[in-house]
Structures are given as C-alpha cells and as structure tokens.
Amino acid sequence: MKLIAAMSGGVDSAVAAARAVDAGHDVIGVHLALSSNPQKYRSGARGCCTIEDSHDARRAADVIGIPFYIWDMAEEFHDGVVEDFLAEYAAGRTPNPCLRCNEKIKFAAVLDRARAMGFDGVVTGHYARTQISDSGKTLHRAVDHSKDQSYVLSVLTVEQIEGAIFPLGDTTKVDIRKEAEARGLAVAQKPDSHDICFVPSGDNAGWLRDRLGSEVGPIVDHNGVKIGEHKGAYTYTIGQRKGLGLTVPTADGSPRFVLKIEPVSNTVVVGAREDLAVSTMRGERAVWCGPAVTAQPQRGFVQVRAHGAALTCTYFFDGRLLTAQLDQPLLGLATGQAMVIYDGDRVVGSATICETE
C-alpha cells in the first residue's frame, strides 16, 4: 500500500513508520506542524510540534530511508482542537483534546488529504490494534494495557479505521524503545509526551485563565447556599477536593467535593462524597467503530478516562443518546469526557458524556 506515516518526532511514530516500511509498504513521512508559532525546544515531557521535534522526525525519516515533508495543519488544529477545548471548558465540560485531534486532524484532515493524493492510509504510532473480522476492520486495545490508546481512537468511524494502520499494538513500550535503539533511531530514549501539547507550560488552569478570564463566582452547597468564592469556574474539575479554599466547615466535618460546574451562572456546586456517585451516564455525538449499537441492551465495559478502568455495564442506544448503566457506581464524572464502550478488547464506539445521574 501507499501510506503516509504521521511522524511527531517521538519514538513511537518513528518505529511505526519503520515497521510499515518493513511490511513492504511504500511510505512517506509527514510531520504535522500544529502550531503557527512553534517553540524552539521541547521542555521535558511537555508539548510536541516544536522545531526540535520536527528536526527529530526528519532525522528518523532519514535513518528509515523514506521521503519526508512537513504539512501545515496549524489552522485546522486551532479551529478543530484548540477552539473546541476552550469552548468545552467555557461550557463547563471537561474535554479531551487528544481524542479531538485524532477525530479531526490525524484521521480526518490528514487521511482525507492522503487519500485525495492517491495514498491508501495513514500510519501512526498509537498503541492500538486493528483486526479483520466478518464485520470488517475493527479497533482493539493494545497488548500493552498500560500504554493502550484505544480510548483516544474511539472517535474513528469504520471508514477512518479502514485507512488507519497501527503497527505498534502488538508490542510493549519497553520493546519499542529497544527496537528503536536497534534500528539506530536517535529518539529511542526521548521522553514520552504527556499533558496537553498546546499548553507548553503544563499549567492548564493558568492557560485557560489567560484565555477565558478569571471571573470570580460563588461556590455553593447543594441547597444553593453560598459558602465561598472561586476564581474562574473552569479551573475546577468534578470530584476535586483540594484547593477549594472553603472556610465554612460541614456539620460533621466531612470533606466537600466539586459536584457540578454551571458556566452560565458561573457557579461551582460542592457536596459530600456520596453525591458524586454516578450509576448511569448518557452521551451524545455517538460514533461506532464497528457495527452500530442498537436499543437492545448489551453487556460490556465502559471507560471514561484515557487510562481509566474498564467498568462493567449494560449499554444501549436510543437513536440519540448512548446510555451506560454501571454495575458499580463511579465517583466523580465530568460531562464532556468521552464514554467508550468495549466488548472485551474491541472498541464498540464512543460518545461525549452529556448527562450523569
């Protein structure tokens, strides 16, 4: 096949590109420039798409022996990922920008452009697997569960999965680093990237404050009684206990947790730990990574964080909302996060959580 390898400058995408070449594909390396004002250097594990990263990607392509180009996706990234991230926080939800990037950039803008140019698909260094079954190509967890990235890929449609190649899903990260070393790739020991790539300082709250302002608002209890003040509702997270700055103690001295963020009234609602419990979640904007979920309840697992636990549940889809009923309640679940349904290790699909109870 003729493939575009998306090369971030990290070890994973470098080995993925090399493995695609070994598998006999005709591969071209592409580094996505996602910032119109890139930083010169990486600082630790933060950020990607610095000038240093694009250099690392180019050197990896040289060692692998494939052509290399840079594609400017800064505008698409800003509109589809950064703006979405800000809008979601402004609406009181907790978004996952990596998932949005896969949905709108890597397997949309890049894959579409690649296909139009005559390529068959896009290779990435994600830890996930695909399998060909009777119902087509399906998406599965990686063998290395600690590195599994199927959660952030759960927004891919069947058609996008058709064009996605994940060569690393059968290997552990430790072995990928050893393989990179053996292949002579200089990025073999480069630190993993964490955090949000477009917030290079790592200070998400500060970054949000700079862009959304820091309007003071009330912190109220579940009866609506004001018990404190906050400096910008979006810097709080559902389930957060520390840093609330509350001076009025509860009657029994038990701690308070953030239960709800109401952006319109700029209010943060706090309450007891048991009030955080969620037993049913519903999600909108459902995407199926294989056969569509129906109104017929099914048993499976739901995962609500990138590296969270898979929780046993019953799930169904009413044509508008995807519902998951948990066997055991979960504490602290923010709207805006993705709920990803698994059937064993197969990704069934996902939706954006809009209601919890």
Partner: protein, 368 residues
C-alpha cells in the same frame, strides 16, 4: 558543480599553503588565488581589487547592507531602501538594522509583473534623498526570474550608494559591475556552477565600509578570515567556464511554458510580460496547495520549489508573489521550476506529462 570547477578545487585542496603566509608555499597559494580573483573580476567587469571574497552570498549581502548603512549613518542618513521582492538575505538584515541600529526601512513596490516601481523611487529620492544611506535592489529575482532595471535605479539614485544582489544573474545573463554603475554587488558561486560556501562582494575601490568580521585584516580589512583558496579557485573556474548556454535554457523554458499553458489554460505564469532569466518559471495553479504539488512531483523524481519555508519547515506564502498582487491563497498555490545547463527536452516532456495528474490530485487534496 561544473567539471572545470571540480578539477580546480580538488587540485587546490591537495596543495599546501595559507595565502597570507609569506613563505614559498604561502606565496604559491596567494598567486593562484590572485589569478582567480583576476578571472572573476574580468568576468563581472570590475577591478581585481574590487572583489572581496566571502563565505556566501548571504554574507556579501550582510556586509554590504550593514556596512553601507553604518557609513551613511555617520553622515546622518538613516533610511535603508530595498525592493519588496528581495531575498531574505537582504530583507532580514534590513529589518535587523531597523530593530537594532535605528534604521528606517522603505520598500519599493513592484507591479503585477514583478518589476520595481521607478516612479515611486524617483519620488522617494526627490523628497528624502538626503536621508537615504543606501538603495539595494536585486539584479534578478530568485523566485520569478524577473530582471530589474538597475541602470535606471543608479540614474535615479545619483550620489546615493546602490547595492545589487546579482547571485541569480551571474553567468545567466550579461553582467558588468562597471556598466551597471552600482557601488556594490553580491555574488554566490554555487548559483553558477561553483562550490557551496564561497561568494563575493564586489565593492568599488576606495570605498571603505565598516567590517562585520574582524581579525587578520584580509580582503581590504572588510572581511577578515583565512581565504578559502580551493573554493575561490573553483569559483573562478566556474566563472570562466562556457557551460551555460542561455539560448538553449531559454528555449527549454519557453517550451515548458507553451506546454503548460496549453495543457492547463487556467495557470498563471508569474512575471510573463517582464524580462526574465532563462532558467526560472514561476507558475500559479489555482485551487491547489504548492506543498502538496511538491510532494507529488517529488514522487515522480521531479524537483521543484515552493517559495520559502519557516524555521519549522512550514511552507509560507512567498513575499515576492504577495508583492506582485497575489493573495495568501494564490501565493500558496505556486511552484517554481528551474532549468539549468544540463536540463534537456526530455526533462521538460517528463514534467509536462506528469503535471496534469498532479494538479488533479492536488486540487482534490485541497478540497478534502
């Protein structure tokens, strides 16, 4: 590199001697080097003592621009005039002078064909002539090949020093420092069949400008540093070589333009109505993005260029095309094709045979 230059360079690499040394080996190298200087001087119509060797065309431009500015500033002149289509090796030092040395930079606009506006320059010299430290206008543009009216610039400038970046024109079209009447002119060896890493600033004799590099006092104390004799010898060999046949290259260029405009009538050949260098064709393909086209052409073993890239490697809209009236979108839909001394009709035919499919795919990718 042309064969004569390659032979001259490798032979000189094997010889011992710093041209500034006084012993026999040093004097031998000095002699070879001065022979080379005379050859280059003859080829560009200047005196040997007017040739100052530098390590690149960029260094020659920086030396001229900064040196002539500092010289002018001492006389109370703080305006630097450049054209709006200069190479970054002029644009960036000019802006550096503005940011760090108190210069005011004024850019001469160009018309739709990429030729500078002489009316504008006349007006500027009339109203602010006594403030202008120097005027720098390139001899021919590197992206479009459009040749600029330098003798007219010199006429308008009067006593104001004029510099021209002639890196693109040397060996491609007739070039004479004396006939142009400029104060200073930059050359780059690798643009005319010589090696990388050697250039020259041709600077009128008796004009002394402040140096950028201080040290051993070589090159009229304007450019210190051990002279790179092997590269200089190769530079001269390339300058003397008859390898470049302008008529032949022009004919290839014209057949390419004829082919492309008949196959793809919607394309725009930039600067078509102006006098241009034989080997450069700059084409706008509406509805495409040039980095996509470059990738697809590259896959067919055809190398072409998109304006320029920033330090992160991201393709940017060409300031030259923007100055000619393009917008960001159409400027980013343009490719430069270069034809050289070794190009053939078969190369032109190959490029023409793959272009229609490349453009079709490029348009589809742009819509996706």
């Amino acid at each position: 590199m042309v064969e004569e230059a390659l032979i001259a360079m490798t032979a000189q690499l094997a010889r011992l001697g710093n041209p500034s040394s006084l012993h026999t080996h040093g004097r031998a190298t000095r002699r070879t080097l001065e022979d080379a200087r005379e050859v280059i001087a003859k080829e560009v119509g200047c005196l040997p003592s007017e040739v100052i060797f530098t390590a690149s065309g960029t260094e020659a431009n920086n030396t001229a621009l900064k040196g002539l500015y500092w010289q002018g500033r001492d006389k109370g002149k703080h305006v630097v005039v450049i054209s709006s289509i200069e190479h970054h090796a002029i644009v960036d030092p000019a802006h550096w002078l503005a940011e760090h040395e108190g210069a005011e930079v004024i850019q001469i606009p160009v018309n739709a064909d990429g030729v500078i506006d002489l009316e504008f320059l006349t007006q500027l010299v009339t109203t602010r002539g006594n403030e202008i430290a120097l005027i720098s206008v390139m001899h021919a543009n590197n992206e479009t090949g459009v040749i600029q009216p330098i003798p007219k610039v010199v006429d308008i400038a009067g006593e104001i020093p004029v510099h021209t970046d002639a890196a693109q024109s040397f060996k491609k079209i007739p070039l004479s420092f004396a006939d142009l009447g400029v104060y200073a002119m930059s050359l780059s060896a690798h643009k005319m069949g010589g090696p990388l890493g050697i250039g020259a600033l041709v600077l009128r004799r008796a004009v002394e400008i402040p140096a950028l590099l201080h040290g051993g006092g070589q090159e009229r104390e304007i450019r210190s540093g051990t002279l790179n004799a092997p590269a200089i010898v190769a530079f001269a060999a390339a300058a003397k070589s008859k390898y470049y046949d302008s008529a032949k290259v022009s004919e290839l260029r014209d057949s390419f333009i004829a082919g492309i405009t008949s196959a793809l009538p919607e394309v725009i050949v930039n600067g078509l109505k102006a006098d241009r260098l034989p080997g450069i064709v700059n084409v706008t393909f509406p509805g495409t993005q040039s980095d996509t086209l470059l990738l697809l052409m590259d896959a067919q073993n055809i190398s072409c260029s998109t304006g320029s890239a920033c330090s992160a490697g991201v393709h940017e809209a060409s300031h030259v095309l923007l100055a000619m009236g393009h917008n960001e979108v159409s400027a980013q839909s343009s490719l430069r094709f270069s034809f050289g001394a070794t190009s053939t009709h078969a190369d032109v035919d190959l490029a023409l045979s793959v272009l229609p499919d490349v453009i079709t795919r490029g348009r589809a990718a742009n819509l996706s």
